[in-house]
């Protein structure tokens, strides 16, 4: 695992604190920024945030572990989150999940060997009128069919995201 450079990490934290001020209420924005830019929140990041914001590491860890979108471990470059709530389940969410598992050769909660994709299930993403739906990082995809799902994966693999 490659640990990110401390300087880059420092800059991410400083940038957020500049905008929101160095106050406890800036903790979540800091964690989200580190998570977005580096992909996960490493032990080194915890130490650095603790130093800059003067909050005990255990406290920060407690906050971080509460939120499902904040990663403790490195995940794939693209995190696929398939909605598992009722409307999506009714409209064939499992077919989508199965085809993605087959195409990527991974199960739910796993990451592909090339580090490109992580597959997860998530609770309602508010796309129920267009089920089944999923998120890849921040981007929502809806009215999915198995073939459409494959197309989307291919587009991410090829670097031309649809």
């Amino acid at each position: 695992m490659i640990e990110c450079k401390v300087d880059y990490l420092k800059r991410i934290i400083e940038d957020v604190l500049k905008v929101h001020g160095n106050h406890r209420s800036s903790l979540l924005p800091v964690l989200i920024a580190v998570n977005d830019k580096i992909g996960f929140i490493s032990d080194m990041a915890l130490v650095e945030i603790s130093k800059q914001m003067d909050i005990p590491i255990a406290e920060i860890h407690g906050v971080m572990s509460f939120y499902s979108f904040l990663n403790k471990k490195k995940k794939g470059k693209y995190v696929i989150r398939i909605c598992r709530s009722l409307s999506c389940e009714f409209k064939g969410k499992n077919r989508i999940k199965n085809v993605i598992m087959r195409e990527l050769g991974i199960g739910v909660g796993e990451t592909t060997d090339d580090g490109l994709f992580t597959l997860e299930e998530t609770n309602c993403i508010g796309m129920c009128d267009r089920s089944p739906a999923m998120l890849i990082n921040d981007r929502p995809y809806y009215n999915l069919t198995p073939e459409r799902a494959i197309e989307i994966l291919e587009s991410y693999r090829g670097g031309k995201i649809i």
């Binding site: 929101h20 106050h23 406890r24 209420s25 800036s26 903790l27 979540l28 924005p29 964690l31 989200i32 998570n35 407690g62 906050v63 509460f66 939120y67 499902s68 979108f69 904040l70 598992r84 709530s85 009722l86 409307s87 389940e89 009714f90 998530t122 609770n123 309602c124 993403i125 508010g126 796309m127 129920c128 009128d129 267009r130 089920s131 998120l135 921040d138 981007r139 929502p140």
Partner: protein, 382 residues
């Protein structure tokens, strides 16, 4: 009965803000109180009273928070408002700031809706340019990080404060000690979208819609086994059956009303009305088709609560675990039928002893489904 009346109607940009500036705090608050507008997030607390409580605080540093952490399964009405009616929410927030005397407000947007952030930021900028010299306001966009319970107002405030998003004991209420321990108003997106319309058209106009004690219109997100899924604006108090007829969902096994935290309604009860005090008008309508396995439906619902329980209080953390376990045991024939009675008692305990709405409402669907579909789940041929 079903048409664009208020929320999905046109709004002339900025007029309500100018009117609000002229009115000043007291007049706006008493107007909203007169309109008897109730919170659209689900709990239905009167908005005007919330605002008044903050206005009456001696502390001058106050905050307004727009709750855009729409996480109730089956709800997507706020997504539509955030995406297509952004300006209504922003106007509602600016008017709210004038009303309670807050210099700063926040939009707490769920991470799942991050793709809407740019549109929201741009709209805030536009309003800053247009009205920045007339009104002293500031709107910050903040993100959640994937926690359903943060839709609860205290959990949301804790999250904004930089802590785990766990509900607190009340009192003190957020109107006394909220964000940074200062008086804070938390309003749902849809609540705020109603505000500019009320300011422009008055309280008695607003009260022409809906029923006594529950005025105005309401957005419903309709999904599931239904012909025409989507967003519908209806007057408060219409019978569920009327909405179902309109969207093609009458021929169904049951309807999940008010999301997972709401309740499961069977066809005999479709005549009931959507308003506070009857069927929960939170906004989520999931139609469950005739061929669906109710055991699976309940399992899905309970898995959700087990995962989203913040784990702080025992009735919710343990209770949801036992309900799910119990459902599986009973369904698979591994527990005595008598165990169901014990689980019903557990439901009652959870309802009265859980700390927040999550644990208090999670037994609703268990009770409804287990009572109405007992035969299907317990006495199957598997």
């Amino acid at each position: 009965m079903i048409e664009k009346k208020v929320l999905l109607n046109k709004l002339d940009r900025g007029e309500a803000i100018l009117r609000a500036v002229k009115m000043g705090s007291e007049k706006i608050v008493s107007l909203i109180k007169d309109s008897e507008l109730r919170g659209r997030g689900g709990a239905g607390f009167p908005t005007g009273i919330k605002w008044e409580r903050v206005l009456n605080q001696s502390e001058k540093e106050r905050y307004l928070i727009c709750n855009a952490d729409e996480g109730e399964p089956g709800t997507f009405k706020d997504r539509i408002l955030l995406e297509e009616y952004t300006e209504k929410m922003i106007e509602g927030m600016i008017i709210g700031q004038i009303a309670i005397g807050a210099k700063k407000s926040f939009i707490y947007l769920r991470q799942e809706y991050k793709f809407l952030a740019e549109k929201i930021k741009n709209t805030i900028e536009e309003y800053k340019k247009l009205f920045g010299d007339k009104v002293d306001f500031q709107i910050d966009l903040r993100f959640g990080a994937g926690a359903y319970v943060c839709g609860e107002e205290f959990a949301l405030i804790e999250s904004l404060n930089g802590f785990r998003g766990e509900p607190r004991n009340k009192p003190p209420f957020p109107t006394e000690k909220g964000f940074k321990n200062k008086p804070t108003v938390v309003n749902n997106v849809e609540t705020l979208c109603n505000i500019p319309h009320i300011v422009l058209n008055g309280a008695s106009w607003f009260k022409k819609f809906g029923v006594k004690g529950c005025y105005g219109t309401k957005l419903f997100s309709v999904a599931g086994d239904v012909e025409k899924p989507g967003i519908y604006e209806v007057e408060m108090g219409i019978p569920l059956i009327e909405l179902l007829e309109h969207v093609g969902g009458v021929d169904s096994k049951a309807v999940q009303v008010g999301g997972y935290a709401g309740t499961t309604v069977v066809p005999e009860d479709y005549y009931k009305t959507l308003c506070f005090g009857d069927l929960p008008p939170g906004g989520s309508i999931i139609v469950i088709g005739k061929n669906r396995d109710m055991g699976k439906v309940l399992e899905n619902i309970l898995e959700f609560f087990l995962e989203e329980s913040c784990g702080q209080c025992t009735p919710c953390r343990e209770g949801n675990y036992r309900l799910l376990e119990g459902l599986r045991l009973l369904r698979d024939g591994k527990a005595s039928i008598k165990y169901l009675k014990t689980l019903f008692t557990l439901c009652d305990v959870m309802k009265i002893s859980a700390k927040c709405g999550l644990g208090q409402s999670s037994p609703n669907s268990f009770l409804a489904i287990m009572k109405n579909f007992k035969d299907e789940i317990l006495y199957n041929e598997r």
